[in-house]
Amino acid sequence: VADSFNDFVVNRGQALLRFAYLLTGDRHLAEDLVQEVLARVHQRWERIERNEGAEFYVRTALVRQHISWWRRMSFRNERPVAEVPDTTDRRSAEQTLAARAEIWQLLATLPRRQRAVLVLRFYEDLPDDEIATLLGCSAINVRVLASRALARLRATLVRPTVTTNIEGTTT
């Protein structure tokens, strides 16, 4: 048991930390989240391993823990709902980086479930039905969450910035 759990952590730990960082947007929280989930998984590793799909189990735990029902506000993450950052009509050569930084900022303003759906869809490339299983909701609900999140991003981002980023043209 110890060996297989240790192997799992060693082999998959970095990927889990990446995933957790994208969920939380905070390195310390990501580390805390991964450690907490893995420590608890360790307690019943045999049963989880028997059921196969340990990684899916752990990723599900990461997501659910992060959007947990038991909210705990700490000094580090205690903040009122952030205003959407101001946007300006940038037309510089650094637009790609600026747009990505802006997207990253905007992700921090999304509710956790919406952010989780975007990470699962666009980073993990999971289909909606798997996201639904992971979140414990319906696929329709996943699509609603994604739609709302994307609508918020679209409404806030400056279109010329996006166009330049993607198509490499200057507006």
Binding site: N6, V9, V10, G13, Q14, L17, R18, F19, Y21, R27, H28, L29, A30, E31, D32, V34, Q35, E36, L38, A39, R40, H42, Q43, Y57, T60, A61, R64, Q65, I67, S68, W69, W70, R71, R72, M73, S74, F75, E78, R79, P80, V81, E83, P85, R100, W104, P111, R112, R113, Q114, L118, V119, F122, Y123, G136, C137, L150, V162, T163, I166, E167
Partner: protein, 362 residues
């Protein structure tokens, strides 16, 4: 795939490379697992839980500066900068293998607490220190909140604006080595030797603490404030009283629960056997949220004519009530607090959100 989809995908791939490294992860997980096992064993009985409270070191009375006395005392809740080392959070939403789900106990468990409703009996303490105004540019006015005991908090006035929190601690503040830069600067605050630490990894956090002659440690945590300015702020603290304003008022509450935490958008009540502060675990929690579980249009219940639903979770259940677009009243009840759905709805119906309260994301 749309432009925004592509941009989002690229952004996530880029940012994933900024994630913390996995060096030492296995060692930390193993240590945490051992602590978790010990904690579970240690919390097997309510009597042992009470011992935890005693062992945390609670002074009978703490006098601050000249004669002021804070209500309650620090019982060693998690320090702001020690999330990685602090008590583990609950794992209420942890998925379990299908055959195992029902066997997962609430963690930790407290004694069953049957609820009878009654009028609220708590009082709101104030914070016994007052900072001077205008010592920190852009700092919002302070509010008195509570986390087991009163704390002073300057919320951010806007994105990127400074924040400061002041709280008392019964013991010298301890920090996770990974959260602060090595070493520390010795400074003087009101003529007393104090230590200032800086958050690691370029974090804009600073922590300033000193042992007050009264015997209490005072910890000032700040974000977006430089060192000299933080000392100036700490120097300006004087005895006084900042009254606490709660985000909710209630017509009725479970009798016997004690007010434990007051935040900008949440109030937490604990059972007598739960240690004060630092956690939502095993607590009766009332909060205003901006995000929600499910679709309000489909919620089957009504509370005061508003859509509502009760969600069963591992470890308890929660009632959420739609107040207006983007504002949801949520009441979390752990499994050990035995309350009927009707009583829960009655509490929600008698809850009023104070003016100006901004909901938080769960």
């Amino acid at each position: 795939m749309s432009e925004i989809d592509l941009l989002l995908r690229e952004t996530l791939q880029d940012q994933a490379e900024e994630a913390p490294g996995a060096n030492g992860l296995l060692t930390r997980v193993q240590a945490r697992s051992r602590r978790l096992r010990r904690r579970r064993a240690g919390l097997a009985g309510a009597g042992i839980a009470a011992a935890v409270l005693v062992a945390s070191g609670t002074p009978a009375a703490v006098h601050l500066f000249a004669g002021s006395t804070p209500r309650g005392a620090d019982t060693g809740g998690p320090a702001n900068a020690t999330a990685s080392a602090g008590p583990s959070k609950t794992f209420a939403s942890e998925p379990a293998p299908p055959e195992d789900r029902e066997s997962i106990p609430p963690d930790p468990s407290y004694a069953p607490f049957p609820v009878r409703l009654g009028p609220p009996s708590y009082s709101l303490p104030g914070f016994p220190l007052v900072p001077a105004t205008n010592t920190v540019a852009g700092l919002a006015p302070p509010v008195a909140l509570m986390d087991g005991q009163p704390r002073l908090y300057h919320p951010p006035a806007g994105e990127g604006q400074p924040t400061i929190e002041v709280r008392f601690r019964a013991q010298k503040p301890a920090f996770d080595a990974r959260d602060v830069a090595p070493g520390g600067e010795q400074v003087l605050v009101r003529g007393i030797d104090a230590t200032m630490l800086v958050g690691s990894g370029g974090a804009a956090n600073r922590y300033l603490y000193w042992l007050d002659p009264s015997g209490a440690w005072i910890l000032v945590s700040a974000s977006g404030v430089d060192g000299p300015t933080l000392v100036k702020y700490a120097d300006s603290l004087r005895p006084g009283n900042i009254p606490m304003t709660a985000p909710f008022t209630f017509q009725t509450l479970p009798r016997g629960l004690e007010l434990d935490q007051v935040g900008p958008s949440d109030m937490v009540f604990r059972t007598p056997d739960a240690p004060p502060g630092g956690s939502y675990i095993g607590r009766f929690v009332v909060m205003l949220n901006t995000d929600v579980s499910g679709e309000p249009a489909t919620w089957p219940l009504r509370v005061d004519g508003r859509p509502a639903s009760i969600i069963q979770q591992d470890g308890g259940r929660s009632l959420q009530v739609l107040l207006s677009e983007g504002r949801h009243l949520v009441i979390q009840v752990p499994a050990n607090i035995l309350i009927s759905d009707e009583d829960l709805k009655q509490i929600a119906a008698g809850t009023t959100v104070a003016d100006g309260v901004v909901g938080a994301r769960g």
